[in-house]
């Protein structure tokens, strides 16, 4: 196999791009013959190693990484150093390609805006019972008494909030608190 390096701007090879899907068996090696001056790993099921043409140095590589070179290389060698097969997709090309194909579907979790309000209140339980706490952007519950407070159940089946303990949540639903007689709690709400 020749290992000819050709100048990008020499006019002999015009811009091109091609994608390959390769399954590398455990400890397997694969040579991909396609001229390139950039190599992008579009996806991989694991980390593998690459050697750029006859370069004896190998490089760790995985999905999301790209290497770019000043000259065109004729092939790339892929090596799976693990005991598990790796499936990978490589994009090899000549020139300068941008990849703007990323799209996102489904629900995108975004950071909430900064809080505008804070309120706090205290409740003393004269009798054992359950109350419901309304949702907010953030709710902080402090057990200010000496009894255990139970979060999320209708009895002692909830999470235990020990005396002086604090529980913080961004749950967007009603939260139940079970408190025994004599319990005191403080609730702080950010909105």
């Amino acid at each position: 196999m020749s290992d000819t390096w050709q100048p990008i701007n020499g006019g002999r090879i015009q811009s091109s791009y091609k994608e390959f899907t390769v399954v590398l068996p455990a400890n397997g090696i694969y040579t991909l013959n396609n001229p390139y001056n950039f190599c992008r790993c579009l996806s991989s099921t694991g980390r593998f190693k690459v050697a750029w043409s006859s370069n004896q140095m190998d490089t760790d590589f995985e999905g999301g990484l790209q290497a770019k070179f000043d000259s065109i290389l004729p092939y790339v060698q892929l090596f799976n150093p693990t005991e598990t097969p790796i499936t990978l997709r490589l994009g090899l090309g000549v020139g300068d390609f941008d990849d703007s194909r990323l799209t996102v579907s489904g629900t995108v979790q975004t950071s909430p805006a900064q809080f505008a309000n804070f309120s706090a209140e205290t409740i003393t339980f004269d009798e054992t019972g359950v109350i419901e706490v309304a949702p907010a952007q953030k709710v902080i519950i402090q057990n200010t008494g000496s009894n255990i407070v139970y979060i999320g159940g209708s009895g002692t089946d909830g999470l235990q909030l020990l005396p002086k303990g604090t529980f913080e949540t961004s749950l967007q639903n009603i939260l139940t608190l079970y408190c025994t007689s004599g319990s005191t709690i403080a609730i702080g709400s950010f909105s």
Partner: protein, 93 residues
């Protein structure tokens, strides 16, 4: 702290220093007359809920996110409950 100002109950009529907390979704029978106060705790309030005293039901709906407080007199022997939030019963003096 419970807000007992709604409907202007008089502190000369009710003992607002000695309220008794009540569980959500639980039926109680008033052993004495008093004033039943329900309020939203935490967050910006509940979307909806109700107070049931005897055969009367008062619904509360909160669409603007503000906290909700409601209170009504209870006569000895009445059954009473609430469906969301937190509540206390204040006995009549």
């Amino acid at each position: 702290m419970f807000n007992t100002s709604l409907n202007n109950p008089s502190s000369s009529d009710y003992d607002f220093d000695n309220g008794v907390s009540k569980s959500v979704n639980t039926n109680y029978v008033a052993e004495k007359s008093g004033y039943f106060v329900v309020q939203s705790v935490g967050g910006g309030g509940f979307q909806s809920g109700s107070i049931i005293i005897g055969s009367n039901t008062w619904g509360y709906t909160n669409l603007d996110g503000t906290k909700w407080v409601g209170g009504f007199p209870v006569t000895k022997g009445d059954t009473y409950k609430y469906t969301q939030g937190s509540a206390k019963f204040f006995p009549k003096k």
